[in-house]
Amino acid sequence: MKRNTLGLQVPVGTADILPQDQAFMRQLERGFLDLFVKWAYEEVSTPALEYLAVINPQIEKGDSLYKFFDREGNILALRPELTTPIARMVATRLKGSALPLRLCYAAEVFRYGTSARREFRQAGVELVGSSSPAADAEVITLAVDALRGAQVNDFQINLGQIEIIRGLISDMGLKPETGLVIEDCLARKDFVALELALIEAGLTQSQSEVIMSLPSFHGGEEVLDRVEKLAESPRTLAAINNLREVYAALDLFGVRREVGIDLGVLRGFDYYTGVVFEGYAPGLGFPLIEGGRYDGLLGNFGFDCPATGFAVNMERLVSILTPPSYSAAQVLVTGRDMQAMIERARALRAQGLSVEIALEPIDAAAAKQYADSKGIARVETL
C-alpha cells in the first residue's frame, strides 16, 4: 500500500542515521569497546524491552519511560539506560562469577522526555564487586581515555561525592524529612528554594552557609582540606577520605590533570552512593559523560554488591566532533569480463580492502567520474 503522512515519518525524537554518520558513530563506538576490552571489560547486551518492575518499581513516581502492555497485561518499558538492566542481569545470571566483574556495552536507550532526541546511543562500563577507590579511579580513567581516543581535545571531568553531602546534612542532626527536602532542592539545583527551606527548618546561619556553599567546593585537593574542617561525624570524614583516595589513585592512573573536585556535582541522590562524576565539553550544554558509584542498586535485585560505572552519550559526543568523510569502497573494479572482475575483487578483499564491482560495463572516463563522486581512490579496469 502506498505510504502517506505518518507512513513517511519517524516518531518524534528518533532519527535515521545515514551512512556517513553511521560510519562515524560505528568508528567511535568500536574505539570505545576496543578500549574497554583492553581493560578486560566484557561486552554484554540486554533486551531493549524490560518489565517496568525492573526499571521503575515505584510506579507512582513520574518517569520519562516509553511504556507498553504485553499481551499478558504486564507493563513493559524501553530501557532508559543500561546500568539497571545490567544490575538485574548480574544479580540473576552472573551471581556465581568471580568478582570483580567488568562489563561494557554500546546500545540504544529511550527517554520519553522533552529533549530533542528520545532515542539515542550510550556506550559505557560497569565495574561490579569492588568498593575500592581504585575501582572508581579505573572507570574515571576509562572515561578520560575514551574522550581522548575520540579526539575530544577540550573536556573536563568534575568529580563529586554524594556521601559527603549526605554526611554533612546528617551531621546537623536535622529531621529526616528536612534532609529529604534539602536533597530534593540540591538535586533540582534550586538554590532559591533551598535557602528558604533552610530558614524554615531553623538551621543556624553557619549550618545554612555550609549547605549553600556546597557548589563552591570546586578545584583541586585543597577543596578536601576545606570541607574536612566542616565534617563532624566519622561518616562524613570517611566519605571525604574516600574522595581523597580516589583522587590520589587518579594520579597513579595518570589522569588527575583532567579531573577536578567539585562537590557541586549534585545528581541522582536516589541512586548514587559515593563518588559521582560528569564529563563536560565547552559549548555543550549537557554532560557528555555521567557516572558514579551505586552500591545499593544490586542489593535491590537480591545481590548486595558494590559497583561503579559510567556512560557516554554518543549523540552529544558526535555533536561536538567533526566527522571525517568515509567512502564505501577503496577500489572500484570495472571491465567487461565479469568472471575476472569477481576474482580480482576477491583477491583485493582478501588483502583487507573494500571493493566495489561495476555491475555494468563503463568506459574509463565514466568510471573515473563515478569513483570521484563516491570518494573511491582507486579504479582498476580489467
Binding site: T114, D154, Q156, N158, R188, K189, D190, F191, V192, A193, P215, S216, H218, D262, G264, V265, E278, Y280, P282, G283, L284, G285, F286, P287
Partner: protein, 222 residues
C-alpha cells in the same frame, strides 16, 4: 568560542530595564542595551560578556541547551516551562502572583462562603496549563484546562471558560474585567538561572556574579 565568554539571556519587555540596571550595578557595563534598537545580540568583548534579548518564555530553553550560560527570568516562566536549569538567585524584582480568578457575578458577595470545590468540572483558561493542572490536580479537583496565549480575561466574558489562572501584579486587569481572585497559587519574582554545565565549567565567573547580585538584592531590602 572563548571558553570564558559568558552569554547572558535577558527577557525583553517589562523585566528588561530592571535586569540591565542590576547588571550594571553588578559591574557589567551593559547599559547600552536598549530594546528599541531592535538589536538582539549585544557584545561586550572587554568584559567577555555577550547579552542576548529573548522572549521571556524562551529563556529557560536557551539556558537549558547552553545557548546562554545564564538568564534572568520570572519564576512563573520557570515553573511553567519545567526545564532542567539551576536556579541561583532571587532577584526580587518583577513581583507577581499566580491566582485563580472568576467573574464577580458567579461568586457569592461574601467570598469567605466560596468553596474552591465548586469549580469542579468547570473550564479554566490560562497561559500556564502546567501550573493550573498541578494546582487543581494536587487538590483532587477535575477541571478542563484551556490553553490560551494572551488576554486570558476575555475567556470568561464570552463563555469560553468559567475561570482563569493567570499572573497578576497590581490586580488592575482583574478589576477592569470584573474578575475576582478566589485563590492564590503562588508568588513569583525574577530569578537568575544557569545552565547546569556552564555552572560547573564557568563556575568562577558565574559564582562571582551570583554573589554580587545576591549582595545587591539583599542590600536593598535592608
Amino acid at each position: 568560542m572563548s571558553r570564558n565568554l559568558l552569554t547572558i539571556a535577558l527577557p525583553k519587555g517589562k523585566l528588561l530595564e530592571d535586569s540591565v540596571s542590576l547588571l550594571v550595578r553588578a559591574g557589567i557595563n551593559c547599559g547600552e542595551i536598549d530594546e528599541d534598537s531592535r538589536k538582539l545580540v549585544f557584545e561586550f568583548p572587554e568584559e567577555e560578556v555577550r547579552c542576548i534579548i529573548c522572549r521571556p518564555t524562551d529563556i529557560p530553553t536557551y539556558v537549558e541547551f547552553g545557548a546562554a550560560d545564564i538568564g534572568f527570568v520570572g519564576k512563573d516562566t520557570i515553573i511553567e516551562q519545567n526545564k532542567d536549569v539551576a536556579e541561583l538567585v532571587d532577584l526580587k524584582f518583577g513581583y507577581c502572583r499566580f491566582v485563580v480568578a472568576a467573574p464577580e457575578e458567579d461568586l457569592p458577595a461574601d467570598l469567605s462562603r466560596f468553596e474552591l470545590y465548586s469549580l469542579n468540572h468547570k473550564r479554566v483558561a490560562t497561559k500556564f496549563p502546567r501550573v493550573a493542572e498541578t494546582f487543581f490536580g494536587a487538590r483532587g479537583m477535575q477541571v478542563g484546562v484551556i490553553k490560551l496565549h494572551g488576554n486570558i480575561e476575555l475567556a470568561p466574558r464570552v463563555g469560553l471558560a468559567e475561570m482563569i489562572v493567570d499572573i497578576v501584579s497590581t490586580g488592575k486587569t482583574l478589576r477592569e474585567n470584573r474578575l475576582k481572585e478566589v485563590a492564590q497559587i503562588l508568588e513569583a519574582t525574577t530569578r537568575m538561572v544557569a545552565n547546569r554545565v556552564s555552572y560547573r565549567m564557568k563556575y568562577r565567573r558565574i559564582q562571582e556574579l551570583q554573589d554580587r547580585l545576591k549582595e545587591l538584592v539583599n542590600g536593598e531590602e535592608k
